[in-house]
Symmetry: C2
Subunit: 650 residues, 2 copies
């Protein structure tokens, strides 16, 4: 039975499963059903696996923004560009810009945001020139604490002309690489820079190659090159690197030309020469931005095709200049932009190493994942498999910082246009909600693109419920979160699918809304008819909580069944965390909406009234194989409200 023998040996070696009771006694069991295998590994391992499988990747470079609104914009860009599936992003480091500080515009905080809030594997640049050992170590410790795992080790530009080497100081990137490996052992993955045409300050191309070899030998894991304009420049460089024994991955730095002036400036800074054939095309169209961008895209695509075809290039690194159109277009044309719009989980994953096992969250934060990540950032353990396995999760406070940092992407003027310069009454508010649902323009001609609880337009999944949602919002059932019931759709479903191939996803119908106390009184009457099919929690801003659910037992409302895995239940309705969410949900009325208006203004008082008097309600229909009964519940509530008073008492 030779076939069998071949099969047997091929698998048994790698399985590591012992056949006796002894050896696995000490082995630490890791049976976490991690959905995305990439989440657990180090960047070098991910690269290794991709190289082995021939699966090409791309990465994206950004620089830190100058202003706080710029930071908000960049984070939105991370989300959009993250959906294309970069293997990692990197954030540059400019010593003059206080890059290691806690300011939301610092390199450190931008990289941390990318990891923690946008779920992106990130590389933080770090320069060492003119820095003390203590300062460098402090930066690295802070990076580690924030969940950063990768450093691009650079010398950086010396400040002033009369810079000379310091004995025992950080004179070259090699010193920094050595320091990182010495102080942090194997913790960080380290990237270093390569210069396809030699470093401008190097004595020679060969001398520069030797320096690169030193950096790699000191412990760097991969190389990203400076930009270049011809594929052969890079390919020769790789060949020369291999010849002197550099074996790690070498990633070409791709710079899609996006404008005449940015090209000139970059070339000047990097002391590169633009090839004649490119200048000849560009000069005649230098005042036509669109033409130059189109040329830049075409030129980058052609060069990348040559690079990829060479077999020497496992991944492409893009200098984005913090813009997205050109890079995305190049990647689309190369077929590297991920076309799978499905979520890895029904919420945004964080790339912080602490959170690698996290796979369940309360549904309440479905539209505010960054807020959830922020409020749980101090947790030591994250629920894995079942909500509440981690002991005593306590949510972080609602601080001003949080309210600033995660505030709406839209400026105040836009919000006023969407939500009304002036509110007349509660119905004006109902209208805002209804317009958000229908995405029709309001009476001032503006589309309502967001609400305080939803910074983005309606999810495709929620769109399935649009007609029903419109109907109830119009009557003052102000919905802020909902999902349809799903009874075993393929995990590949473009609207409700998530997770690995070959699986099935399920949901219980969920509806969460603010509504008046009169409505709640009727609703509670009506809900008696729906016991035990419907679970509810009803709470006002003071925390008066009415529920028919178990005090401590969460209700799984989203789950998936996948080949060869345990069940994943990413979202739950959890009674304990609902009380924390309640504080946040009510606070958003005031912080994001009421404060748009003058103190004591009627508009502000209307929002304040709603905040003070409305209830926050959530409903789960447990009978997921049947059509959701939640719309009927609301319908029954309105019927009861419309009926003569004496019938309301029964």
């Amino acid at each position: 039975s030779s076939i069998l023998a071949a099969h047997t040996s091929s698998k048994s070696d790698s399985s590591g499963v012992s056949n006796s009771g002894e050896s696995s006694k000490e082995s630490s069991r890791c049976s976490t059903p991690v959905l995305d295998a990439d989440r657990t590994d180090r960047l070098r391992d991910k690269m290794k696996r991709r190289i082995e499988s021939g699966d090409r990747w791309f990465s994206l470079e950004f620089f830190p923004p100058r202003t706080a609104p710029g930071a908000v914009n960049l984070i939105s860009r991370f989300d959009r560009m993250g959906s294309g599936g970069p293997l990692f992003i990197d954030v540059t480091w400019h010593p003059a810009g206080d890059p290691g500080s806690d300011k939301e515009t610092s390199s450190m905080m931008i990289a941390s945001t990318a990891v923690n809030y946008c779920g992106l594997e990130s590389v933080l640049h770090l320069t060492c020139c003119n820095q003390t050992k203590e300062k460098i170590t402090a930066h690295l410790n802070k990076a580690k604490r924030l969940g950063l795992k990768n450093i691009m080790a650079l010398r950086g530009d010396p400040i002033g002309k009369d810079w000379v080497e310091e004995d025992g100081g950080f004179n070259y990137a090699t010193d920094l690489v050595k320091h990182i490996r010495c102080e942090f052992d194997d913790y960080f993955d380290i990237c270093v820079a390569g210069y396809p045409t030699g470093h401008p300050e190097a004595e020679s191309y060969e001398d520069d190659l030797r320096h690169l070899k030193e950096k790699v030998d000191a412990g760097a894991h991969f190389i990203i090159t400076q930009l270049f304009f011809r594929a052969e420049t890079f390919l020769k460089f790789v060949k020369d690197c291999r010849a002197i024994g550099i074996t790690c991955p070498i990633l070409p730095g791709i710079f899609p030309i996006q404008g005449y002036h940015s090209l000139r400036q970059l070339v000047k800074l990097s002391k590169l020469e633009v090839p004649e054939e490119i200048m000849q095309v560009i000069e005649p169209i230098k005042d036509n931005d669109a033409a130059i961008r189109n040329y830049g895209i075409q030129q980058a695509v052609e060069m990348c095709k040559v690079l990829l075809a060479s077999g020497e290039v496992p991944g492409l690194h893009f200098y984005t200049l913090n813009r997205e159109v050109a890079t995305m277009e190049v990647l689309r044309q190369l077929g590297l932009w991920a076309e799978d719009p499905r979520r890895p989980l029904p919420w945004a994953v964080s790339a912080h190493p602490k959170r690698k096992v996290e796979d369940v969250r309360p549904i309440f934060w479905a539209s505010r994942p960054k807020s959830y990540i922020y409020r749980t950032q101090d947790w030591d353990d994250f629920p894995n498999g079942r909500w509440g396995n981690s002991s005593s999760p306590a949510f972080g406070e609602l601080t001003d910082y949080y309210l600033f940092y995660l505030k709406s992407k839209s400026p105040k003027e836009a919000l006023l246009q969407m939500w009304g310069e002036e509110l007349m009454n509660e119905e004006s508010v109902y209208e805002v909600f209804t317009n958000y649902i229908t995405s029709q323009t309001n009476r001032n001609g503006h589309k309502v693109m967001c609400l305080p609880w939803n910074d983005d337009p309606l999810a495709p999944e929620t769109n399935l419920l649009k007609d029903e949602l419109e109907k109830v919002n119009r009557r003052g059932v102000l919905t802020i979160n909902s999902q349809p019931n799903i009874n075993g759709k393929p995990s590949s479903d473009p609207i409700v699918g998530w997770g690995p191939a070959g699986g099935y996803v399920f949901q219980k119908a969920y509806l969460e809304f603010f509504t008046s106390s009169e409505n709640v009184t009727a609703l509670l009457q009506v809900l008696k008819k729906y016991e035990p099919r419907v679970n509810y929690h009803i709470v006002n801003v003071q925390g008066r909580n009415t529920t028919n659910a178990h005090d401590m037992q969460p209700n799984a409302v989203t789950w998936g069944i996948f080949p060869g895995r345990e069940i994943i239940q990413p979202t739950v309705v959890d009674p304990v965390s609902f009380m924390y969410w309640k504080d946040e949900a009510f606070a958003l009325w005031i912080e994001q909406w009421a404060k748009l208006y003058e103190d004591e203004s009627p508009s502000r008082m209307i929002i304040q009234y709603i905040h003070d008097n409305y209830f926050l309600v959530n409903l789960v229909d447990n009978d997921f194989p049947l059509d959701s009964c939640l719309w009927q519940v609301i319908e029954d509530m309105f019927t009861l409200l419309d009926s003569p008073p004496e019938t309301q008492k029964d």
Copy 2:
């Protein structure tokens, strides 16, 4: 909104959910989705809840068996009678019989078995007369260690006639109650005996009532009475107890008369008088056992009806004399016998307090739950929610004790009749498996009621697969475990349902079998076509393991979705524990089957050959909404085997 106010206050008080972030910071989260709320509570709490809800219960008394086979029988009886839903059972204590020892016939071990292996809430009797404090404490410590939580505190019969009270010794049950409360605080629930007609040695009925009051005041939680023959005897006793301030539950001891001689003996021992009206019926039929038993059933039913109708009796306690027919019949006629044949979980629950959160197990032990419980008895934590959350579970060794203790219920002669006095070849073995599946008589006229891996006839669920199983066993695919795929049947389904009402249960199709290495060679060829739909593990006795599954990730094969709960996934195919199961599954060939035959006999050598050369295979069809493809896999394997050799290589 008065309706609202009423609702709000009624629930918010009991919820204990805080509305601020602070108070739950320290609170230990308990979000275990325990299926049977009874599993977590103390016996006194269960009684309290049942009394409040008016839900009457019954309990069953057994005495320890004299012989090891008697112990095996009694454990089977626990399983059968446990399915009727007793609130608890109790095991008597006879100082002369070494009741605290480790022998499988001791009171201690029988009670421990009932708790740990049969999942029954159990009360261990303990007598104190002529015992040292140290000995008593040692017994109690041992009981606690074994997972026992309830003690029936008794004085016991003094040994010898010249017994006198010892100063500071255990002269009365009260002393024992005090000692338990003193040494073990509130750990044990304590039961004491009541004598409806007064203790035979008491000075008076009133004096005896005062003693009972002392026992309760010392810390007993409930009372079980000595047997009696008239309902009014008990009802007067309860009234008298209440009158002197005894408020705890008082359970009547019911003795269905089962035979003339056992009645005479019992009456003599307990110094009770049998009422004239009973003797008048019994004397004329004293040689007709059936007639007496029928009378006993009828008499007990009548008396119990009066007791239950009185409103004074929350539960009935039965002196079973280790027999089941009479008591079960009385309970059926009273409507107290649980008619729900569904499993609480798809495996036997243990009542050990350590295991109260356990809700997932490897499917391999589905037919051998006691073995699983035995082999995991030293675990400190049990998987809850997800398999492998508890760190490094190591399975206990296969010891002789284990092989004895959990051996077949059938004696050697019966096994030989079922499995063959003499085996001719491997096909003889196939026939045994096939006869087990079809439950037809074999060529010697005996039904095969069990196999080494299945001590009971085919489960109703497996019966659904009978025709397919017969077909493959006939050809040497020797199945030992299987389940059909289930795509969302109601949890109330009589065959595949389990868990709370209103839920839905699911399964992936599973098939586990032994088969020859030739078959496995073909199977591995065939399985390539079924990637990634089918996961497999294939292993021989040496542990050569071939699999296409992740090394460490379990595959959930049974799960349930219930109102207001997290997902429950009670069974998984776990790669690590499969290696432990493999040892057990192969050992059963030898220990239970081969050893029936003489050393060196052809029959023994046939079993030994299978043991040495066959493979153990498990298959999971991940695509649970579709018809199982596992039969097609086996079919394809046979087709390949039947095809000319050259086509087998493709």
